[in-house]
Symmetry: C2
Subunit: 192 residues, 2 copies
């Protein structure tokens, strides 16, 4: 494992998503790995930490999650904007070499049988909390975060450090059609 990657206290895991980044969703089942992009992912609870993510019925990643009962949310960086956009637009069903074609490099975390995307800033391993009505009616999936990690070059001591890191570490915030914003400058309430 990359020496810069460190575990994140589960009590602070919500902070990895709290600022609303676009995420990558990855999953594995029966030897098949897939990765997709999702702007519609959100923190849901602090303790235990939970998340929501919207997964269209057309996605192969959704089928892998339904079959395996687990998934990873990871926070891609500005350096990964082309890969992030590509995995959101290429389907594994149509392109069996999707991950290679999109430039996705996977790595393993000890003790977790799921694919993690290299180069991201943070990773949340999640156990699916089955909610068939939400999944069927709204494409809405709920997960409990069971472990989290971050790259200490941009998240450490429970805080993002975008302002001190290389700009290539900034999170991506998708609007539409490949148009993203990166996260900007810190602003503290009551600072004036």
């Amino acid at each position: 494992m990359n020496a810069h990657i460190a575990p994140v206290d589960l009590a602070k895991a919500y902070r990895l998503l709290n600022h609303g980044p676009t995420v990558l969703v990855s999953a594995r089942h029966a030897g098949v790995d897939n990765v997709m992009a999702a702007a519609w992912a959100c923190a849901l609870d602090f303790r235990p930490p939970k998340v929501t993510v919207v997964l269209d019925k057309a996605t192969r990643t959704r089928a892998l999650i339904e079959a395996s009962g687990q998934f990873v949310l990871q926070v891609p960086t500005a350096a990964q904007v082309d890969m992030t956009n590509a995995v959101g637009n290429v389907s594994l069903a149509e392109a069996p070499d999707k991950l290679a074609r999109c430039g996705v490099e996977l790595f393993a975390q000890d003790g977790v049988d799921m694919p993690f995307v290299a180069g991201c800033s943070a990773w949340l391993a999640c156990r699916l909390i089955p909610e068939p009505h939400n999944q069927d009616a709204y494409d809405l999936f709920i997960g409990e975060v069971t472990a989290a990690w971050a790259d200490t070059r941009v998240f450490r001591d429970g805080h993002w450090h975008f302002e001190d890191a290389d700009p290539r570490w900034r999170s991506l915030h998708h609007v539409a059609g490949g148009h993203f914003y990166t996260i900007g400058d810190p602003l503290r309430a009551g600072a004036e």
Copy 2:
């Protein structure tokens, strides 16, 4: 109504939230108005547009939404960081003058009996889709967006224009404890 405020096509309404801003949630019931901050709000569907928002059982705004069946999500600006943080930390139950104390100015939109927060960049009027299990088990509320508006100084023609607007119009992205980031620079996939 402020001459800069224009309706947003419902097909584009998801773009007001897609980049993950912290929002203000407002509601009215039986003559009582309230406003709270929420970082855990997210787009859920395109057509009709739907949203999710997490509302703690301790909040008065939640009770107003459960009673009235409707709410507004609005996108506050960097200029409103102190107000946004204040409405997220002061409870109407403890401070009946909460809105005045926090510096919230409300306005009306024609034909909608809900309180809208002045000075924001965008507003989504929502009809609650009752889902008692989600509300009870997860504090998770689902709404259908019935109308949307934006301030054309920062959102027009279906697109955010943060890069051309005064920096005080940038959206807020809360991490924890009054620490926010503003949205940053545009980044287009495939631009290199």
